[in-house]
Amino acid sequence: MNDIAVKVENLGKKYVIGHQSRSDTARFNEYLSSVGRSIIRRLKNPLNPYDVSLELEDFWAVRNVSFELKKGDRLGIIGHNGSGKSTTLKMLSRITTPTEGRITMAGRLASLLEVGTGFHPELTGRENIYLNGSILGMTRSEIRAKFDEIVDFSGVEKFLDTPVKRYSSGMYVRLAFAVAAHLNPEILVVDEVLSVGDAEFQKKCIGKMQDISSDNGKTVLFVSHNMNAILSLCSKGIVLDRGQVLYYGDIREAVKRYIESRRKSPNASLENRPKPDWVDGRVRFTKCAMKNSGGTEVYSVSVGETAIFECEADCMEEMNGEVLIIIDIYNSCNCHVAALNTRNLGYVSHLRKGKNIIRFTVPKIPFYPDQFSLDLYAEYYGSAMDFAKDALSFQTNPGAFHSSGRINEPYRSIFAVDYSVSTE
């Protein structure tokens, strides 16, 4: 146990959830009788916290999760919403108790489950630094010693004696993160903090966290949907899926597994997908990938970076003339945000028999941070040849679209647009 910082063995958390029993309540009289039934059940069982018309069921939010971290390890915890990431962190930070299993930790653990925890809107910035610091486990003397550093890092010194309810959301987050970043725990748990603040501040935060973990041999557990942040910060990764461990090991592999699991059809199986019945199948997409300007395959790009969408297509016969290939891009709200096609550019593609590679290069990706999925479509003189739904998923991260390096925050719009301003 000498150099082990965190050891998690067969961790599990069970919740009891209620769901509506299978009765058709569409008709009014049936609805009335079901209400009557539930009143009777309520009378029989007055202290049941659930709506008694619900049937109870055990639900394991997390089960059989095990991992071991040495001092100074940085673990990225990755998974879809509801995969058990937060529950795992909550058990680690002792907010909920595990139903089964065991956690052993050496040293103090501090969690940044949400920055600004315990901030009171009525209190001033100064008062909140003390309050928040002691909630996160610092002693008063520790806070006093670091007070100036915290204020410097947050950059809100002018407003220290203003109640934080008058702060802008950016100032609020900066102050909150500043307090949390100056905690001195042996084990640091960070959840989603980087989804707030502007790009510049996020960079500062990532830098700070790298400092925290590398300089002092601190152990960090990091949860984020931002794969770039995870890749740059973590050495190990664990992928959770429906409460179970899908993969545990090297972070690059973990990110890859996660991105692949996001697709309805994983990378390789573009070839094995069923052919839609409305296409003739003379062309078949076999692969789709996103690459950066250097030609390496990536799963995320920053706003303003170059992205190359590369698809591989198998052709049954040689085709001359106008082959139309379309890439449709949808964002996480399933809004059709862009269509790249060969026709608009006046490009006439000649596909040869066998394997072809078609490349679409977007020099400056204009999408604000989000998740995207992409459909492929091929057509030859009006007849559809192939269609691949969700051929690729990717995400965009905060980045420098404009030369100033600043982008709108929060991301109220979908696109970053190139423009100039002049005044007269």
């Binding site: 909920t96 315990g118 309050l131 002691s134 008063r140």
Partner: protein, 275 residues
């Protein structure tokens, strides 16, 4: 202690001894939360801390007029009615304000409970500091009243801390019980004002216990506030004090305190899931 020495094991069931140690480790947070509650309470108020005095003062005047002047209830021998009412008001104010502010303490701090670990008992317990500060301020006012009426308290006053201690136990016990129940069933936030209002009339606050008929005394003494208030009046004014009421108050307060802790601990592990 080096951090390497602090090995923490988290398992499904934890013992009470560890909890006690945790509570001690988090004592700074306890005082910080108490400080926050007091500061926040009087932010954006004009008269601020004066509210603490105004409430018991107003109640005292009303009770003195209604019970002493209109209903013409007798005071304890030789004690100005105003002082007797105030002697009952102080412990009652202390108990009721602990219960009122303490019982919604957990729900009011849900953001903390669902985000950070610390012994949850700190939150409702910290609220008693606020009530203690109120009590202290009112005690000063009480002293001024004593001087105004040129009344010298009896030597029994040395026993005062004992009865205040019983009041603390009772208030904490009830607070633990209601605040933890409130997490799961919000009904209890409606019960508290009712208890407080009801308690004011079934306890000897506006009147002296001597007006209660003999045959009802035992049932009456089942209310632990009776023993506490009578005890405090005995300390200050040498009012008559029945041993049964003191014993009943002591036993019930201690039992309530222990039950409150036990109940709170039982529900505590589920707080974050229900809140």
């Amino acid at each position: 202690m080096k951090p390497e020495d602090k090995i923490l094991v988290i398992e499904a069931n934890r013992t009470g001894l560890l909890y006690l140690r945790d509570f001690w480790n988090y004592r700074e947070l306890f005082f910080t939360l108490a400080w926050r509650d007091i500061v926040v309470r009087y932010k954006q108020t004009i008269v601020g801390i004066l509210w603490t005095i105004l409430r018991p003062l107003a109640t005292m005047i009303v009770f003195t007029v209604v019970f002493g002047k209109i209903a013409k209830l007798p005071s304890d021998a030789g004690v100005p009615y105003v002082l007797m009412v105030f002697g009952g008001m102080l412990p009652w104010q202390f108990i009721s304000s602990t219960i009122t502010t303490g019982s919604d303490a957990l729900v009011g701090n849900h953001a903390l409970i669902s985000k950070v670990y610390f012994p949850r008992m700190i939150i409702p317990t910290a609220r008693i500091i606020m009530a203690l500060v109120e009590l202290l301020i009112n005690a000063v006012l009480f002293g001024i009243l004593f001087a105004f009426y040129r009344y010298v308290p009896s030597w029994h006053i040395v026993f005062l801390p004992l009865f205040l201690f019983l009041a603390v136990l009772l208030a904490l016990g009830v607070t633990y019980f209601i605040s933890s129940l409130n997490v799961k069933y919000r009904d209890f936030q409606y019960v508290v004002p009712f208890i407080v209002q009801f308690g004011l009339y079934i306890s000897p606050i506006g009147f002296s216990s001597s007006v209660v008929p003999e045959k009802w005394r035992l049932i009456y003494a089942l209310n632990p506030v009776v023993g506490i208030v009578d005890g405090i009046r005995w300390c200050l004014f040498n009012s008559p004090l029945l041993p049964e009421t003191v014993i009943s108050a002591a036993v019930i307060s201690v039992l309530f305190f222990l039950f409150g802790i036990w109940f709170f601990r039982k529900l505590e592990s589920e707080f974050a899931d229900f809140i």
